[in-house]
C-alpha cells in the first residue's frame, strides 16, 4: 500500500480566506456572511449559476472547494474521490428558516427549495455536481473539529480500496459564527496524512 499525503488546504473564517495558511482573499471585516460570500464569488468568478440558489452553508463549502481545486485536477479520480465532511451545527440556519415557515398554521408556507437544504450532505451533493465527483460521501456531526475521526475514516476508505483521493474537513455555520476548513488527501503532497498533521494545519494561519 502506498502512503497518503496531505495536499492543499483552505480556511475560510472571519471574512478571510487562507490557502495553505497564506492569505488569499480578505473581505470587508464588517460584512455579513451573505455579502462576504457574494464578494468571494465575484473574486473567484466560477460562472456557476447554481451557486445562487444554494443556502449559505452550501455556498461556504462550495467556495472553499473552488479554492482547493483551482489548480488541482482531481477529475481523473472521478468515482474514487471521497468527500468526508463534518460540523457541529448541521444545517441549523436553514432548519430555522424552514421552521419559521411552518411555525403557525395561519402562515404555513413551507418551501421545497428551503427544505432540501436542511440536510448537511446537500453541500457535498452540490460540490459533487460541480466537480463531477462520484465517490464516497459521509457527513459526521461532532461537537468540535475532530482530526482523528476524519483521518481514521479516510485511512479506512483508502485501505479498503474505496477511494484514492479525498476532500476532508469541517464546514460549520450557526447564528454567531462560521468556519470552513477543507483539505486534500491523495498520493500527492509533502506531509504524510496523520491526525497530528491535520491538527497542525488546522491551526496554521499566517495572519
Amino acid at each position: 500500500m502506498e502512503d497518503l499525503f496531505i495536499g492543499k488546504y483552505c480556511h475560510i473564517k472571519n471574512n478571510k480566506v487562507f490557502v495553505d495558511g497564506k492569505l488569499a482573499f480578505a473581505g470587508e471585516e464588517t460584512d455579513v456572511l451573505k455579502s462576504f460570500l457574494k464578494n468571494l464569488y465575484r473574486f473567484l468568478k466560477p460562472s456557476y449559476n447554481k451557486f445562487f440558489k444554494m443556502d449559505e452553508i452550501s455556498k461556504l463549502g462550495f467556495l472553499a472547494t473552488e479554492f482547493l481545486l483551482e489548480d488541482v485536477d482531481i477529475s481523473k479520480y472521478e468515482e474514487d474521490v471521497a468527500l468526508i465532511f463534518s460540523n457541529s451545527d448541521s444545517t441549523l440556519i436553514t432548519d430555522n428558516k424552514h421552521q419559521e415557515s411552518i411555525d403557525e398554521d395561519v402562515n404555513f408556507f413551507p418551501s421545497p427549495s428551503v427544505f432540501v437544504y436542511t440536510l448537511p450532505n446537500i453541500m457535498m451533493g452540490e460540490i459533487s455536481i460541480r466537480h463531477k465527483l462520484k465517490g464516497e460521501n459521509t457527513f459526521f456531526i461532532v461537537e468540535n473539529f475532530n482530526a482523528e475521526l476524519l483521518t481514521n475514516h479516510i485511512n479506512n476508505l483508502f485501505l479498503t480500496n474505496k477511494a484514492k483521493a479525498f476532500i476532508g474537513g469541517w464546514v460549520n455555520l450557526n447564528f454567531h459564527s462560521y468556519e470552513a476548513f477543507l483539505y486534500l488527501v491523495s498520493k500527492d503532497g509533502s506531509a504524510i496524512h496523520s491526525a497530528e498533521e491535520i491538527n497542525r494545519i488546522y491551526t496554521n494561519i499566517e495572519e
Binding site: E79, F115, I122, M124, F139, V142
Partner: protein, 395 residues
C-alpha cells in the same frame, strides 16, 4: 490480484444482535412477524401539531414507549428528562444489548448514531423549554446517549440523508476490520415531525395511500418513524445464525440534489464497489432489499442500477409499503429485516406492490417465499445525489 488478497485477510464483522422499534412492534421478532402477516403500519393521522391537515404516516405507540422506557430508567436509576427520540434510541440500544456479552461501558465499544434530523421537534419553542441549550443539536444527542450508557467514547452521528443508516453500518464495519473497536453499536432513529412532514408535503412527494414501491400506480412515499439498532462484533454470536458484513460503499450521482440519476450511476457504482470489497461477482447475490421509496424516480432509478448489474432475475423487496420511509433509521431497520429474512430463509413480499411499474422488468416479490439465501444486497439512495450499498453473507 494484490488487492483481492488484501481484502481476504481483513476481519469481516458479525451481526450479533439487533432491535427494531416501529409502528409494527418493539422488537425485531414482533416486526418480522407482523411483516410476515402482511401488516401495514401506515395509517391516517389527525394531529394538527404535526400537520394542519390529515396525513398518512407509520408512527410508534407512544404510550407503550413511555411504559417500557419507565421500566428501563428505573433499572438504570436515571431520572433526567429525555426527548421522545432519545427515549426511543436508548430503549432500542438497551434491548439490543440483552443476551449479548457486549460491555457498553468499554472503551473498545463504539456507538454510532444515524439520523437526519434528530431532536428537530425542539426547534418548536413550546417543546424546547424543558430541555437544556443545544439539545436540538445532533452532537448533543450523541452526548446524551453516551452519558446514559456510560460509554467513554465520543458518540459519532452520521447525518447523510436517507443513506445515513447504510453508511453507519459500513463505517462500523471499517472500525472493526481496522481493529479500532471490538464491538460497534449502530443506532438509527428519526421521528415523524411537523418539520419533516411539511417539508415532504411541500415537495409534493407524499402518497395519498400507503406507498406502493415499484408499482405501476405508485405516486409517492409514506413517512414513518422508527429506531433500530445493530451490533457488529469481531466475534460471532452464540447460538445464532452467523451472518457477516462482506462489503459496503457509497457513491454520489454528481447529477442533481433532489432527484436521482436517470442512469442509476451512483447506485451502480456503490454496488460495484461493495461487490469488489466482498470479492464476489453479482451472480452470487440471492436477494436484494431495495430502498424502494415508491416515488416514481427513485424506483425507476433502482431498477436501472439493478439491471446494469444483471440482477434483474433476483428477488427484490422493499418494506416501505408497511413501515414507510423512516429516513435515518431506514438503512438500519431494513438491514435488520434482511438479516431476519436470512435467518428464517424466508423472503418477504413487497406490500403495496401489484403490477410492475418500472421500465426494467425486475423481480419484485409478490408473495412471502421460502428460499435458501446466503448472500444479500442492501441498497439505499437519498437527497444530495447520495447512494449506498452493503453486502452481507452467511458464514
Amino acid at each position: 490480484m494484490e488487492e483481492k488478497s488484501w481484502v481476504k485477510r481483513i476481519i469481516m464483522p458479525y451481526f450479533i444482535s439487533d432491535n427494531i422499534i416501529s409502528s409494527l412492534g418493539f422488537s425485531t421478532e414482533e416486526n418480522f412477524n407482523s411483516l410476515l402477516k402482511g401488516e401495514v403500519g401506515i395509517k391516517e393521522i389527525e394531529d394538527t401539531e404535526v400537520y394542519p391537515d390529515k396525513f398518512l404516516a407509520s408512527t410508534i405507540d407512544k404510550s407503550r414507549l413511555e411504559s417500557e422506557f419507565g421500566k428501563l430508567v428505573a433499572k438504570y436509576s436515571n431520572t433526567k428528562n429525555f426527548t421522545t427520540l432519545e427515549k426511543l434510541i436508548i430503549l432500542s440500544i438497551d434491548k439490543s444489548l440483552q443476551n449479548t456479552e457486549v460491555d457498553i461501558k468499554s472503551g473498545k465499544t463504539a456507538i454510532i448514531l444515524s439520523t437526519t434530523k434528530g431532536n428537530i421537534d425542539l426547534l418548536d419553542k413550546k417543546r424546547s423549554e424543558k430541555f437544556d441549550k443545544n439539545r436540538d443539536s445532533l452532537w448533543k444527542l450523541g452526548e446524551v446517549i453516551a452519558n446514559f450508557f456510560g460509554n467513554p467514547n465520543e458518540v459519532i452521528t452520521i447525518s447523510n440523508a436517507c443513506i445515513s443508516g447504510v453508511i453507519a453500518i459500513n463505517t462500523a464495519a471499517m472500525y472493526i476490520n481496522g481493529k479500532m473497536f471490538d464491538n460497534v453499536v449502530i443506532c438509527g432513529g428519526d421521528l415523524v415531525t411537523r418539520f419533516v412532514v411539511s417539508g415532504f408535503m411541500s415537495f409534493l412527494s407524499l402518497s395519498e395511500k400507503p406507498c406502493k414501491p415499484f408499482d405501476k400506480n405508485r405516486n409517492g412515499l409514506s413517512l414513518g418513524e422508527a429506531a433500530g439498532t445493530i451490533i457488529l462484533s469481531n466475534l460471532p454470536p452464540k447460538g445464532k445464525q452467523k451472518i457477516k458484513f462482506r462489503g459496503g460503499a457509497s457513491a454520489n450521482d454528481a447529477n442533481h440534489i433532489s432527484g436521482p440519476s436517470r442512469t442509476g450511476e451512483g447506485s451502480y457504482i456503490s454496488i460495484k464497489k461493495a461487490l469488489i470489497e466482498a470479492g464476489i461477482e453479482s451472480d452470487k447475490i440471492d436477494h436484494i432489499s431495495a430502498h424502494g421509496t415508491a416515488t416514481p424516480y427513485n424506483d425507476e432509478m433502482e431498477s436501472i442500477a439493478i439491471t446494469r448489474h444483471s440482477l434483474q432475475s433476483k428477488p427484490v423487496n422493499s418494506i416501505k409499503g408497511s413501515l414507510g420511509h423512516t429516513l435515518g433509521a431506514a438503512g438500519i431497520i431494513e438491514s435488520i429485516i434482511l438479516l431476519e429474512e436470512m435467518r428464517n430463509n424466508t423472503l418477504l413480499k413487497t406490500m403495496g406492490f401489484a403490477e410492475i411499474g418500472v421500465s426494467n422488468d425486475i423481480n419484485i416479490l409478490t408473495e412471502n417465499t421460502e428460499k435458501d439465501i446466503n448472500t444479500c444486497l442492501k441498497m439505499a439512495s437519498g437527497f444530495g445525489g447520495s447512494n449506498a450499498a452493503m453486502i452481507i453473507s452467511k458464514e
